[in-house]
C-alpha cells in the first residue's frame, strides 16, 4: 500500500477518527467533523452555521422583517433560505456524526460516479468554482436581504444621480442616471441571469436528450430526419434567430427562456445520440429487450441515465453561454425590460454616459465575466473528472 502513486490516493479510504461522540465541539455544526479529519464537510457545515447566524445578528432588521408583516414573496424566500441553512447545518451535523460512528465494516465497491466525484473534489479549481457558484446563487436568493438599497425606487434623483463609487456616501459602486444604487441593481440583476441560464438550459437538455435518444435508438429514417433538423438549426446564426423571434413576440422573461431553450438543444442531441449509438449495442440493453422491457422504459430508465455524466458536463458549459446570450439580448433592448435590472440592460444604460459615469457599464460586466468564467471552470473540471477517456 505504501508505494501507491500519489494520484491514486483518492481511491483509498481516508483515515478518520471514529471514536464515540463526546465533547462540546460536536454540538457546533462542522466543528466536530473538522476535528475528526472530515475537513471538507466540516468547513461546509461551519459556513452553513456561521453565515446565517451572522446575518441574523447583523441584518436582523431585514431578516426578521417578514414576521412583522411587510415582506414581499422574494423576501420570504430569502429568509426561508437562511433558516433552512441554519437548521440544516444542525441536522446534517448529527447525521454525519452518526454515520461516522456507526460505520459498517462491509466493503463497498466504488462506483464510476464516486470515483468521478472524488477526482472532482481533489481538483482545487473545481472546489473554488463550486464555492463561487454557491455564493452567487445565495446572493441571488438573498437579494432582498443583502442589497443595501432598493434597486428600482428613485429617491431625490437630482441629488443622488451619477454618484461615483465611494464608501462614505453608502453607494459602494455608485449610482446610475436615475439615482438608483448600482450595487443593489447588480445583486438583483444576478437573479435574472442565473435563473434564465439555469431554466433555459434545463429546457435545452430535455429537448436535446429526447431527440438524441430517439434518433440514436431507432436509427433509420427517424435518425436521418432528426439529424437533418439538427443541421438546419445549427445553420441558423443563433443570435439572428433569437432576435427575430423575440422582436416579434415581444420581450418577456417567459419568451426569452423559451427561445433560448428552443435554440440551444442541438449540441446535447448530437452528444446523446452518439452515446446511445454505442450504448444500445451493449449487453444490458439486449438483455432488457430480450426480457420484453417496454421501449419507453429502455429509453428513459436505461439509456438516458447512462448519458447523464456528459450531459451534466456539457450543460454546465452551456449555462455560461446562455448567460452571455441573455445579456446580449438585454443589451440590445430586446431582453429583460427596464426598470427590472439585468446585467445586460444596466450595461446598455451606462453606454450613453460612458465617459462621465464609467462605473455604470463597468461593474455589471465584471459580474458577467466572473459568473461565466466560473461556470466554464466548473464545466472543465467536471469533464476532467467524469470523462473516462481522459482518466488514465
Amino acid at each position: 500500500m505504501t508505494d501507491m502513486p500519489q494520484e491514486h490516493k483518492h481511491l483509498l479510504p481516508r483515515e478518520i477518527d471514529d471514536s464515540p461522540i463526546k465533547g462540546w465541539e460536536n454540538w457546533i455544526p462542522g466543528l466536530g467533523l473538522y476535528k475528526r479529519g472530515l475537513t471538507g464537510r466540516g468547513k461546509i457545515l461551519l459556513a452553513m452555521f456561521i453565515i446565517p447566524l451572522l446575518m441574523f445578528i447583523l441584518l436582523s432588521g431585514k431578516t426578521f422583517q417578514v414576521f412583522t408583516g411587510n415582506g414581499s414573496f422574494s423576501h420570504w424566500i430569502g429568509s426561508g433560505y437562511l433558516f433552512l441553512l441554519f437548521i440544516g447545518s444542525f441536522l446534517l451535523n448529527i447525521r454525519f456524526l452518526r454515520n461516522l460512528v456507526e460505520q459498517d465494516s462491509e466493503e463497498k465497491g466504488v462506483s464510476e460516479w464516486e470515483i468521478g466525484w472524488r477526482r472532482f473534489q481533489q481538483n482545487r479549481r473545481a472546489t473554488i468554482g463550486i464555492t463561487i457558484l454557491v455564493i452567487l446563487y445565495s446572493i441571488a436568493i438573498l437579494a432582498p436581504i443583502i442589497s443595501p438599497h432598493d434597486p428600482i425606487s428613485q429617491k431625490n434623483v437630482l441629488q443622488v444621480r451619477f454618484m461615483a463609487p465611494s464608501f462614505d456616501s453608502g453607494y459602494l459602486l455608485g449610482t446610475d442616471g436615475f439615482g438608483r444604487d448600482l450595487l443593489s441593481r447588480i445583486i438583483y440583476g444576478s437573479r435574472i441571469s442565473l435563473f434564465i441560464g439555469f431554466i433555459s438550459v434545463i429546457l435545452s437538455v430535455s429537448i436535446g436528450s429526447l431527440i438524441g435518444v430517439t434518433a440514436g435508438y431507432f436509427g433509420g429514417w427517424i435518425d436521418g430526419a432528426l439529424m437533418r433538423l439538427v443541421d438546419l438549426m445549427l445553420g441558423f446564426p443563433r443570435f439572428f434567430l433569437l432576435l427575430i423571434v423575440i422582436a416579434f413576440v415581444g420581450p418577456s422573461i417567459f419568451w426569452i427562456i423559451a427561445v433560448l431553450g428552443l435554440t440551444g438543444w442541438m449540441g446535447i442531441a448530437r452528444l446523446v445520440r452518439g452515446q446511445v449509438l454505442s450504448l444500445k449495442e451493449q449487453e444490458f440493453i439486449l438483455a432488457s429487450r430480450a426480457l420484453g422491457v417496454h421501449t419507453f422504459k429502455i429509453l428513459f430508465k436505461h439509456l438516458i441515465p447512462n448519458t447523464m455524466a456528459p450531459i451534466i458536463v456539457y450543460s454546465t458549459l452551456l449555462i455560461g453561454n446562455v448567460i452571455l446570450l441573455e445579456a446580449g439580448l438585454s443589451f440590445l433592448g430586446l431582453g429583460v425590460q427596464p426598470p427590472t435590472p439585468s446585467w445586460g440592460n444596466i450595461i446598455n444604460l451606462g453606454r450613453y454616459n460612458l465617459l462621465d459615469a464609467w462605473w455604470i457599464s463597468t461593474f455589471p460586466g465584471f459580474a458577467i465575466v466572473i459568473t461565466v468564467v466560473t461556470f466554464n471552470i466548473v464545466g472543465d473540471a467536471l469533464r476532467d473528472a467524469f470523462d473516462p477517456r481522459l482518466r488514465d
Partner: protein, 321 residues
C-alpha cells in the same frame, strides 16, 4: 471524392431552401404588421387596407411565400416597407461591410489562435502556457459588447488613440488616398479585435488540445528516436497533423462570427448587416429582416459546405464513399 462533394452539395441545397422557408414563416406568423406602427386610432382602415395591398400582405400566406421565394432566388428581395426602396439597395453595402469585418476577424482569430495554441502546447505547463490558458478562458467568457465598451472607454475616450465607431471619419472625402486607407484601418481595429477575440480564444484552446494529442503519438516518438531535431519534429511532423482540424474550426466559426457581428456592429456603429437587421426589427420591416436572416443563414451553410469539402481535400486519410 468528386461524388462526395456532389452529395454534400446535394444535402446543402435543400437545407438552404428549408432554412429560407423557416425564416419566412417564423417572421410572417409573428403578430404585428408594418401598419402597427401607425397606432393613431384615427388611422383610416381604408388606408391600412391599401397599404397592406401595396405590400402584397392581403393575399393568402402560401401565395406570398411562393412569390417571395421565386423572387428571392433571382436576387430580388422585395421592397423595404420602412424606406420604400428596394431591399437590395438597403442592404447592399451592409452585406459587404459585414463580410469585410467578419473575414478579417476570421483571419486574425485563426492565425493568432493557431500560433498561440501550438506554442502553448509545445511548452505545456510553462508560465506562457498558464497565462494563455487563463487569458483564453477569460476572453472566451467575456460579453463582447462589454469588452467593446471598455475598449472604447480606454482607447477612444480616455487615450484618444482610436476612433470610437463608424467606418470612416467625417472628413474622409477630403483625405488623400493613403490617408483614406489609414482612416479605414484605424476604424476597423477595435471591431475586428472584439469580434475575433472570442473565436481566437476557442481556436487556441482547440489547437492546444489537438497538438497535445498529436505529440503523445508514436510517430512523434519515432521521429525523435531517429534523431530529428526537436524544432523540426514540432514544426513539421506535429504541426502539420495538428493543423488539419482547423479547417473544421473555420466552418464552426462562421455562425459564431455572423451572430457576433450583430452586437459588434451596434457597439461600434458599423454600418453592416447586423445593424440593418436591428433597425429593421424595430421598424417591423419584414422584407429586410427576412433578407438579412436568409443571407446570414446561406452564408453559414455555404461556409460549412466549403469547410467540409476542404477537409476532404486536405486530409487524404479520410475515406468518403
Amino acid at each position: 471524392m468528386f461524388s462526395y462533394i456532389l452529395r454534400r452539395i446535394g444535402v446543402t441545397i435543400p437545407l438552404i431552401f428549408l432554412g429560407l422557408t423557416l425564416t419566412f414563416f417564423i417572421i410572417r406568423l409573428a403578430p404585428g404588421d408594418p401598419t402597427t406602427k401607425y397606432i393613431n386610432p384615427d388611422f383610416d382602415p381604408e388606408v391600412k387596407a391599401l397599404m397592406l395591398k401595396k405590400f402584397g400582405l392581403d393575399k393568402p400566406l402560401h401565395v406570398q411565400y411562393w412569390r417571395w421565394i421565386t423572387q428571392f432566388v433571382q436576387g430580388d428581395f422585395g421592397v423595404s416597407f420602412d424606406r420604400s426602396q428596394p431591399v437590395v439597395d438597403v442592404i447592399k453595402y451592409a452585406v459587404g461591410n459585414t463580410m469585410i469585418l467578419a473575414a478579417l476577424a476570421l483571419l486574425v482569430s485563426l492565425l493568432t489562435g493557431v500560433i498561440l495554441g501550438i506554442l502553448s502546447a509545445i511548452k505545456q505547463y510553462s508560465r506562457f502556457d498558464n497565462a494563455m490558458t487563463i487569458s483564453s478562458l477569460f476572453f472566451y467568457s467575456m460579453p463582447s459588447f462589454w469588452l467593446g465598451l471598455m475598449l472604447i472607454l480606454i482607447f477612444a475616450l480616455l487615450l484618444h488613440w482610436l476612433p470610437a465607431g463608424g467606418m470612416v471619419s467625417i472628413n474622409y472625402d477630403y483625405l488623400s488616398s493613403a490617408g483614406q486607407f489609414w482612416d479605414r484601418v484605424v476604424h476597423i481595429i477595435l471591431p475586428v479585435f472584439v469580434l475575433g477575440i472570442a473565436s481566437a480564444a476557442s481556436t487556441m484552446r482547440y489547437m492546444r488540445g489537438s497538438m497535445l494529442e498529436i505529440i503523445r503519438q508514436d510517430f512523434i516518438r519515432t521521429a525523435r528516436a531517429k534523431g530529428v531535431s526537436e524544432r523540426w519534429v514540432m514544426l513539421k511532423h506535429a504541426t502539420r497533423n495538428a493543423i488539419l482540424p482547423v479547417v473544421t474550426l473555420f466552418g464552426l466559426s462562421i455562425p459564431f462570427l455572423v451572430s457576433g457581428s450583430v452586437i459588434t456592429e451596434i457597439v461600434f456603429a458599423w454600418p453592416g448587416m447586423g445593424r440593418a437587421t436591428i433597425n429593421a426589427i424595430f421598424a417591423r420591416d419584414y422584407p429586410v429582416v427576412i433578407a438579412t436572416t436568409a443571407i446570414a443563414f446561406t452564408m453559414v451553410m455555404i461556409g460549412n459546405l466549403v469547410a467540409d469539402i476542404l477537409y476532404a481535400v486536405v486530409d487524404p486519410r479520410v475515406k468518403y464513399d
